[in-house]
């Protein structure tokens, strides 16, 4: 369970997140949706304590991230695709992270197998395609077998086979009772994975709903999403 209450974050007077409150429940995949620049990544970074909110508060199962005794065993996060040293092998990267939370080394082999990275395990990660980098990021998130998973745009760079794989993985993880928060800027993509939705625009909460409820609002899910986010972007394009 992730509980955000009144989160505010400004970067040099530019508001990124404004008074954002939501709950992410266990046992279901929650899609975190919004146009580019809506504040999704900033919010995720605040959940795992990388950015300090200017105001407000976010808790994971009732505790602040900094209070967790074994953060990797409680929260698995993938916040950017290439959060690894390009010269280190996938196995060495995972082994180092595992050591920080006293996770047994054999778990590294397990997450490499889960993510289909066994053959690439001893190659330097800097040579990986975006899809493989994503798989390595997901492997790192799974290292501690955590109850809470936070993945920022995990589908980016994956091929159709990879997209199907991650959909099934996320659904299975949620079915085991875990809390799964997945961001995307593509409603059509997230609708196939998530049951619940948190939609934000310009750092504000636009809707906290379900896929079924949102699609019932208009002729199509996509149309409903555009109506919701209309006017909540930092950019506009004219038709040619």
């Amino acid at each position: 369970m992730i509980e955000a209450r009144g989160l505010v974050k400004h970067y040099r007077h530019v508001p990124a997140v404004e008074n954002l409150s939501f709950d992410v429940r266990p046992g279901t995949v929650t899609g975190f949706l919004g146009p580019n620049g809506a504040g999704k990544s900033t919010t995720m970074r605040m959940i795992v304590g990388l950015d300090r909110p200017d105001a407000g508060d976010v808790r994971i199962d009732g505790r602040h991230f900094a209070e967790l005794r074994w953060p990797l065993r409680e929260v698995g996060a993938m916040l950017e695709a290439k959060a690894f040293h390009p010269g280190r092998t996938a196995r060495a990267h995972l082994t180092a992270l595992a050591a920080s939370n006293a996770i047994p080394p054999q778990r590294v082999g397990e997450v490499l197998a889960i993510t289909g990275m066994e053959k690439a395990a001893d190659r330097r990660a800097g040579k990986f395609s975006l899809g493989m980098a994503q798989r390595l990021g997901i492997a790192a998130a799974l290292l501690g077998d955590p109850r809470v998973l936070i993945l920022d745009e995990p589908v980016n760079g994956l091929d159709p086979e990879g997209i199907r794989w991650i959909r099934n993985l996320l659904r299975d993880l949620a079915a085991q009772g875990r809390t799964v928060l997945v961001s995307s800027h593509l409603i059509s993509e997230i609708a196939q994975t998530a049951d619940r939705l948190i939609v934000i625009g310009q750092g504000r909460l636009l809707a906290q709903t379900t896929v079924a409820e949102l699609s019932a609002r208009s002729t199509s899910l996509e149309e409903a999403f555009f109506q919701l986010t209309d006017g909540a972007t930092d950019y506009t394009a004219r038709s040619m």
Partner: protein, 273 residues
């Protein structure tokens, strides 16, 4: 494949939580699994020993002036490779954290260990241990390898002579202290190029800047700068004019490293990652 292979959550785990031991293990894993660590250490080794051997093989005792003979300090000359070593290990120190900022790994690190000062302390511990070990081994290796090429009647230094052992030990520790200063600068500046510039500025450029200010200023200021301390105090067996005592210089260098690291840890805890 998929989640059937996820291990059960019932797995026993210590109750206390992550701490210095587990975080240090992570940092040691990181340091030893990038090639730059071993490249830089290898160049340091080759440099220390070859510069000592080259220097000693060129000592022409018979052609030296009286004052040259009087100030001849083989221990000091044998450690001339530290000029290169401080640069290499300073870069190693910078890279130990700046590479995490440039790659984004720092965010994975802090998501695993939210206690940022602990991460920096663990980095300092493993970096300090590696560079101190390398520095001490190479200090003695350069001493013995170089002296083997020093021809009589040029006087040889011996470990039993006053100040020689101290010079070798302090000389070996010096590049480790520069590595720690590099780590602190990398933590503060975050960008590899910027932090290396700052480290080179402090070590190599600052002494040059005092020269145009006249001898009195240079004499008063240079003795507080790391490279001057290393050359004229830490590794000197024969005392050089206008210098601090070796013990004070060494203590001061330790304070510099500590001050940069504490400032870095403070900034690391305050700033967004």
């Amino acid at each position: 494949m998929t989640t059937a292979t996820l291990s059960p959550r019932a797995a026993a785990r210590p109750a206390k939580g992550y701490g210095p031991r587990s975080v240090t293990r992570m940092e040691w894993n990181k340091l030893r699994t990038v090639r730059s660590t071993w490249y830089l250490t290898a160049i340091f080794a080759v440099g220390m020993i070859s510069i000592a051997m080259l220097g000693m093989s060129h000592v022409a005792w018979g052609q030296m002036s009286g004052s040259g003979k009087a100030s001849f300090d083989p221990t000091n000359d044998l450690l001339a490779g530290l000029a290169l070593g401080q640069l290499l290990l300073g870069i190693l120190g910078v890279l130990a954290i700046s590479s995490e900022f440039s790659s984004g790994l720092i965010r994975a690190t802090f998501a695993a260990v939210p206690n940022r000062p602990l991460v920096l302390a663990a980095k300092a511990a493993v970096l300090g241990a590696l560079t101190l070990t390398a520095g001490e081994i190479l200090s003695f290796a350069a001493f013995f390898a170089g002296q083997a090429l020093l021809k009589a009647p040029a006087p040889h230094a011996a470990l039993g002579q006053p100040g020689v052992l101290r010079a070798l030990l302090m000389g070996g520790a010096y590049p480790a202290l520069i590595a720690l200063i590099g780590l602190g600068l990398g933590t503060l500046i975050r960008h590899t190029a910027g932090a290396i510039c700052a480290m080179v500025g402090v070590v190599f450029v600052l002494p040059l800047l005092t020269v145009p200010m006249g001898a009195s200023v240079a004499d008063a200021v240079q003795k507080f700068l790391p490279m001057e301390m290393a050359e004229n105090t830490l590794t000197a067996v024969k005392p050089v004019a206008h210098q601090l005592s070796p013990g004070i210089a060494f203590g001061l260098l330790c304070c510099y490293a500590l001050a940069v690291l504490v400032t870095g840890g403070w900034a690391l805890a305050r700033r967004d990652a």
